[in-house]
Amino acid sequence: MADTLLEVKGLKTQFISDKSRIPAVDGVDFNIHRGETLALVGESGCGKSITSLSIMRLIPENGKIVEGKIVFEGEDLTKKSEEEMYHIRGNDIAMIFQEPMTSLNPVLSIGEQLTEGIILHQKLTKQQARSRAIEMLKLVGIPRAEEIMDEYPHQLSGGMRQRIMIAMAMSSNPKLLIADEPTTALDVTIQAQILELMKELKEKFDTSILLITHDLGVVAEMADRVVVMYAGQVVEEADVHTLFEKPAHPYTEGLMKSVPTLEKEQKRLYSIRGIVPSPDEFPKGCRFAPRCDQAMEECLHAQPDLYEIDAGHVVRCFLHKTKEREAKA
């Protein structure tokens, strides 16, 4: 068994208001091993970002982790005080976001924004932090690194800003990098460059990556293992080859079929019918049942558990309940 860096167990994160509780993340389990890239995929609104923000303990003010554990290097992050999190965020766990255009502060220079984290975590002087920042900029492929230090975000392109976000995230040599749709907002060619850069850095620093995306192309390119989320829950988990070759959950199959390919001649691009239910109106039985072509009677009344159908391959679907029994027998 590979060395586990992060273990998310039964995580439930809810948005609580006077009138309602929105279960945005509703019992999520997964592990990330050292040096591995785990992809978290699923349609918009299924709870990917809230899961990752829960790990950082940065969920919006009206949200709350109500259940579960987030064990990082043996310690439960849900039990940490805000002050203890200051030493973990940006130091052990770093994060980059989808919108490079708005993720940098428009009124502070690039140098200022890079060095503030370095000074905080590495206890360096301003001068040393500056050299470290320039070194990081060069590492992420920014030309004219010294000059860029004194420039402001609006003077740079989206791709450059995302490189800067990556430099910022990697500057304290984190053990885990959470990347929430890091390339979604970028042009295709820039996307490829950024993914390439993340791969390089991951090798160089031996960082684990939690990569959030809804782009299966990115998954195939980057991931070692994949967790598929649907309506606040994990519906399938497998290594990347298994998932692409033998997707087991009807939802995953649907996702696979909706990717355009050149090999098969497709008359019309497939799409899963219906829409993602919002967290305040999840169906009573299997949450995918209203959209599932293979739904059975029991799917409407009971929620399926996660069944392990092969070593490391788990599926939340009644169709595979029997297979688990066979596997166990």
Binding site: M56, S103, N105, V107, Y152
Partner: protein
């Protein structure tokens, strides 16, 4: 930058010209003139005609305007009809008082509004925030003169904490630090009365601006770096949220000289505001024109200063 400032300054000339024409027309549009009121049986009719001639009121309005303009551009503001003193002398007597009152008002405003606004934004929709909101709306809807009278009634007549009029204790002959204290003692009440109104609107503005800034992606980035809450607030939230105040500050600078007509009148504060009031009542148009032009110029300059400061604070704004 130098070029930009020069361009802006030159651009003010036509604006001021148009303003002066409008003001002059308004002053002229009021029927009668400064001497109409002095028409009483005991005053010799001939004398009034003489005075009109002496002050140029017998000429056509257009002629009068150009005479005024020529003098004004030479820094010659004319003689007051009312007390026959040079306008520049009248103004320079008053301007110090008005600026003193305005500066103290500004200081009180910022000292109260910024912390209250930030406090509210950090606890939105709590009991305290809602209380502040309620008081803000009361403050906003309270007419200035009513607030001024109320303040005098409570703090001067009943509690006797502050004097109700004047800028210093007459005949006390204070000097130095003692004089400053005496002046502050006199200015507190009118300044606070004036500040209440702007504190209310500034508080509302700062609250929503801070709330807005807290939601920005770059604030989340700052937290993700591990920066402590205080640092994130100071360096990322407040810096962005309070930047628009620079524009307000420019407007406030502009109105430093405008004086507060009602407040100065109620508190018998000898400032430009009262001078404007008196000269308007007396149709003393050299004084009126000079006061209004000073206000117009200072508002335009205040705007320019705000724009310059803004471009220093926000790297996205550059003038050259």
């Amino acid at each position: 930058m130098g070029k930009y400032i020069l361009r802006r300054l030159l651009g003010m000339i036509p604006v001021l010209f148009i303003i002066s024409v409008l003001l002059f027309s308004l002053v002229q549009a009021v029927p009668g003139d400064a001497f109409t009121q002095q028409l009483n049986p005991h005053v010799d009719h001939k004398y009034i005609e003489e005075m009109r001639e002496k002050f140029g009121l017998d000429k056509s309005p257009i002629e009068q305007y150009f005479i005024w303009l020529k003098n004004f551009m030479q820094g010659e503001f004319g003689i007051s009809f009312k007390n026959k003193l040079p306008v520049s002398e009248l103004i320079s007597d008053r301007v110090g008082n008005t600026v003193f009152l305005a500066v103290i008002t500004l200081i009180i405003t910022y000292l109260l509004a910024i912390p209250i606004g930030i406090y509210s934004a950090n606890r939105p929709y709590t009991l305290m925030d809602n209380t502040i909101t309620t008081f803000s709306f009361i403050g906003l809807s309270l007419p200035t003169f009513f607030g001024a009278l109320l303040a005098i009634y409570i703090f001067s007549f009943n509690l006797e904490w502050f004097p109700s009029s004047g800028t210093m204790t007459a005949g006390a002959g204070y000097t130095g630090f003692r004089l400053l204290l005496d002046k502050l003692h006199h200015v507190i009440l009118p300044a606070t009365t004036l500040a209440v109104l702007s504190v209310a609107s500034y508080t509302r503005y700062i609250r929503s601006s801070v709330l807005e800034a807290k939601r920005q992606d770059y604030v989340r980035t700052a937290y993700a770096k591990g920066l402590p809450r205080k640092v994130v607030m100071r360096k990322h939230v407040l810096r962005n949220a309070l930047m628009p105040l620079i524009t307000f500050f420019g407007l406030d600078l502009g109105s430093l000289f405008a004086g507060a007509v009602l407040t100065e009148t109620v508190f018998t504060w000898p400032g430009l505001g009262r001078l404007i009031f008196e000269s308007t009542v007396n149709r003393d148009y050299p004084v009126m024109m000079a006061c209004y032009m000073i206000i117009a110029i200072s508002i335009l300059l205040g705007n320019l200063i705000a724009d310059i400061l803004y471009s220093k604070a926000d790297p996205r704004v550059r003038y050259d």
